[in-house]
Amino acid sequence: MFCPQCGTNNADTAAVCVQCGRALQAAAPPALQQPGVVMPPGTSVQNYLVFAILATVFCCLPAGIPAIVYAAQVNGKLQGGDVAGAQAASKNAKMWCLISVGVFFAGFLVWGLLAMFGILGSLAHH
């Protein structure tokens, strides 16, 4: 990291500039507002949490539960600095979200067919 005051190259973890003593960490833009959460800089691994909640609570699909578990795993691995592990968990979270989408459309189709047959059946009665 280069000191914004005198331009000296410092270690990335340095708190103050070795040349002029300027505080370096305060000068860097805060990546995260949350204190106590350490995330490797420049990494953002999708956890699909929104879609997992959408599937579980808004579409009544229990397949969203494993997606939520994997979403937690993504963020847990990121907190531990394990980016590869987070990406693996992210893939699983995505898979369970896609399973939910598949089940949703399959269920919708079955329900639509049943409704159609119901209407046809009631027409046949008349």
């Binding site: 995330m39 609570v57 009544c60 229990p62 937690a72 329900w111």
Partner: protein
């Protein structure tokens, strides 16, 4: 190419969401057969954590917060966050930018998962304060 696909997908989903909102505004899932029943309830007879969410959103679209809360308090609580997250995802696909967001520690997500599962169990139990969590039970105690 991939980005254009994501953008179209986001637009289609947004459009479907608007249509669904209008349908929910005009048809009450409690009385009309327009909406499919909860598959869990249909197959097992148990309430799932999401049971009553369509009825809750119908009530919300009519401004009845109390009735919506009675149908599914979890849906009403989570709705603002989910809407924000969806808006952020859509904005990212369409504009390439996200809304500001905070990193949720894994413990919070696990806690949320536990709340959802426990809520799903609690609303099926025939014990007095817990059975109020069943869809609509709070309206007729």
């Amino acid at each position: 190419m991939l980005q254009a696909r994501g953008r179209w997908l986001a637009m289609i989903i947004l459009g479907a969401g608007v249509v669904a909102a209008f349908m929910l505004r005009f048809f009450d899932p409690a009385t009309s057969g327009v909406f499919p029943p909860c598959p869990v309830r249909y197959l097992t007879g148990w309430y799932c954590p999401g049971c009553g969410s369509l009825r809750a959103m119908h009530q919300l679209l009519h401004g009845n917060l109390r009735a919506a809360w009675a149908m599914n308090p979890l849906t009403v609580t989570l709705l603002p966050f989910v809407m924000y997250g969806l808006a952020s995802h859509a904005l990212f696909e369409i504009r390439g930018r996200e809304l500001p967001r905070t990193f949720l520690p894994a413990v919070w997500i696990r806690a949320l998962c536990a709340i959802i599962v426990l809520f799903g169990i609690a609303r099926n139990l025939p014990l007095h304060p817990l059975n109020l969590l069943a869809p609509g039970a709070m309206l007729h105690p």
